[in-house]
């Protein structure tokens, strides 16, 4: 690991000032992703700004919305009584990610900024447009079993690895940030980017901005949510495919629904067309199959990940069945 300066800050302004002063500075909270990347030489900031002492540690129910501070640990949020009661999907998704030790350290803000686990991004001897813009994409003609089937570009086919982000996308979360120009609220669907010609940028967060919290608007989904994650091991592995479903049922009619997929794109993949199709319809396997077909429109596989074209709709149908309680 390269050596670096370490600065502990106790106010958001101090953190922003440090970022503004030094373009090569990075924030550190849990460190579970950044320190790993620094050990591999993938990232080598010359200054780490420790934001663990900023006061963003609370989970508050306010005006119907759930506010979760940026430095709340994933383990704390997933076990929080209000999260379990009002947004159980988030807890379920977070508990399916990483290990208990990592969740004890990892923060909400850090998880939003979690970088891809693409092997070519991690291998500093390989080309990677995300790590080194202009160097090419190793995955495109290489081993691409874990890679994207939606929204990829000719410069990057990596996927966002976070489970939390998939649940937050289904729940229409809003990311609270602050920076030199003041506060901003970014809907999560605008927070993560597709790679386009700038895969080095994972999000729309400005370099000098910091995340202060996440707001999940009130909803009536708590009784019918599910997160299904398909992976190579039963636990502690990144998703090949994951699906988040949040549904409001009136009898067997789908009154409202949110759907998002993980392991398929550079950002958590919201399935709005499938949602529109299912809204007002009966919760039935037949309708779920039609929705899954619609969801897969535009999917494109690479040499080693064609299995995702089947696994994704099947996982989606299973998740819809589980969330709605349909057995057949």
């Amino acid at each position: 690991m390269n050596n670096f300066q370490y600065k502990r800050v106790s106010s958001p302004i101090a953190a922003i000032t440090e970022l503004a002063k030094d373009p090569a500075a990075k924030l550190v909270a849990g460190g579970t992703n950044l320190i790993d990347l620094m050990k591999y030489g993938v990232m080598s900031p010359d200054k780490l700004v420790d934001v663990n002492h900023l006061n963003f540690n609370e989970i508050v129910k306010q005006d119907g919305s759930l506010h979760i501070g940026a430095t709340v640990r994933n383990a704390v949020a997933s076990a929080n009584a209000d999260v379990l009661k009002y947004q159980p999907l988030l807890s379920q998704a977070m508990l399916s990610g990483a290990s208990p030790q990592l969740r004890n350290k990892a923060t909400m803000g850090g998880n939003l900024l979690q970088r891809t686990r693409c092997g070519y991004f991690y291998d500093i001897s390989a080309p990677c447009n995300k790590r080194q813009p202009g160097s090419g994409c190793g995955a495109m003609g290489g081993y691409n079993r874990m890679h994207a089937i939606f929204g990829a570009s000719s410069s990057c086919i990596a996927v966002n690895p976070s489970d939390m982000n998939v649940a937050l996308t289904a729940l229409d979360a809003v990311i609270l940030v602050t920076g030199p120009k003041g506060d901003r609220k970014i809907p999560i669907s605008d927070f993560h980017r597709l790679p386009g010609t700038h895969p080095e940028l994972d999000t729309t967060l400005d370099r000098k901005e910091i995340i202060t919290g996440i707001v999940i608007p009130d909803n009536a989904f708590a009784a019918n949510t599910t997160y299904i994650k398909v992976r190579d091991r039963a636990s502690y592995a990144f998703a090949l495919i994951s699906v988040a479903v949040a549904m409001e049922l009136e009898g067997t009619t789908i009154k409202d629904i949110r759907l998002a997929m993980g392991g398929v794109a550079h950002k958590p993949w919201r399935l709005k067309e499938a949602e529109q199709m299912l809204k007002g319809k009966q919760a039935s396997v037949e309708n779920f199959k039609m929705a899954a077909e619609l969801a897969m429109k535009g999917a494109r596989a690479y040499e080693h990940n064609a299995f995702k074209l089947k696994l994704a709709p099947n996982t989606m149908i299973q998740a819809l069945k589980t969330a709605s309680g349909i057995k057949a």
């Binding site: 320190i35 050990k39 030790q101 636990s235």
Partner: protein, 211 residues
């Protein structure tokens, strides 16, 4: 305790000697080559050395297994390397060094943590318990007893991490069934495959109510 304190001083000496020597020598060489009078004077006052220390060495006050340490550390030093290399607490193991295997698991303020992904300097003011701090004198911790009884290891390399994780798993309330134990112990990899026996050890300790 006394032995530890002495050790700590020696370690500090060892850790910073080569860097200091290099900086001293290099600043003298630079000084002689460039601006003799002012720079040699600066070198005499050890200004370079003081400046580099201000940047590179951070104060760290940390309690490990009940003993207080006041140290100076480089920011890039991980908690794992602090334990093993500086303080010679080699019970905590370095497996993957990338947060994937769990061999380095310790408790920081009662919470299980991968010490390889934690910078030492970020643990200022923390209370750390390692495998060395689990036993009560010569009396083993119930989890240590149970791992021996149930043969919860083969080569033993993952065992300190497994035991620290297992104790936390029960404290967290995540040891209520075999399925739950397996899920909440998934951050600790055992290449010998002693999982079945590890689960039995944890179940017995949980049932005994001693943890």
């Amino acid at each position: 305790m006394i032995e530890n304190k002495t050790r700590e001083k020696e370690d500090e000496g060892m850790a910073s000697n080569s860097r200091r020597d290099f900086l001293k020598k290099s600043s003298v060489i630079t000084a002689i080559a460039l601006t003799p009078v002012a720079a040699v004077k600066a070198s005499d006052l050890k200004l370079d050395e003081r400046l580099s220390e201000a940047i590179e060495q951070m104060s760290l006050s940390i309690e490990i297994n009940g003993q207080q340490y006041n140290l100076k550390v480089e920011p890039r030093l991980t908690l794992l390397d602090l334990l093993r290399e500086r303080l010679k607490l080699t019970g905590t193991k370095k497996g993957c060094d990338q947060g994937q295997c769990g061999a380095c698991t310790v408790h920081v303020d009662g919470v299980r943590t991968n010490s390889c992904l934690s910078l030492a300097v970020m643990n200022d003011g923390a209370k750390v318990t390692t495998i060395e701090g689990l036993a009560n004198g010569h009396e083993l911790h119930p989890m240590q007893e149970a791992f021996i009884k149930h043969d919860g290891f083969q080569c033993g390399y993952c065992t300190p991490g497994q035991i620290m994780s297992a104790v936390a798993c029960i404290h967290e309330g995540h040891a209520n069934s075999e399925t739950e134990i397996r899920e909440f112990m998934s951050g600790n990899i055992c290449r010998c495959g002693a999982y079945a026996n590890i689960v039995n050890a944890i179940r017995e300790v949980k049932a005994g109510g001693k943890v």
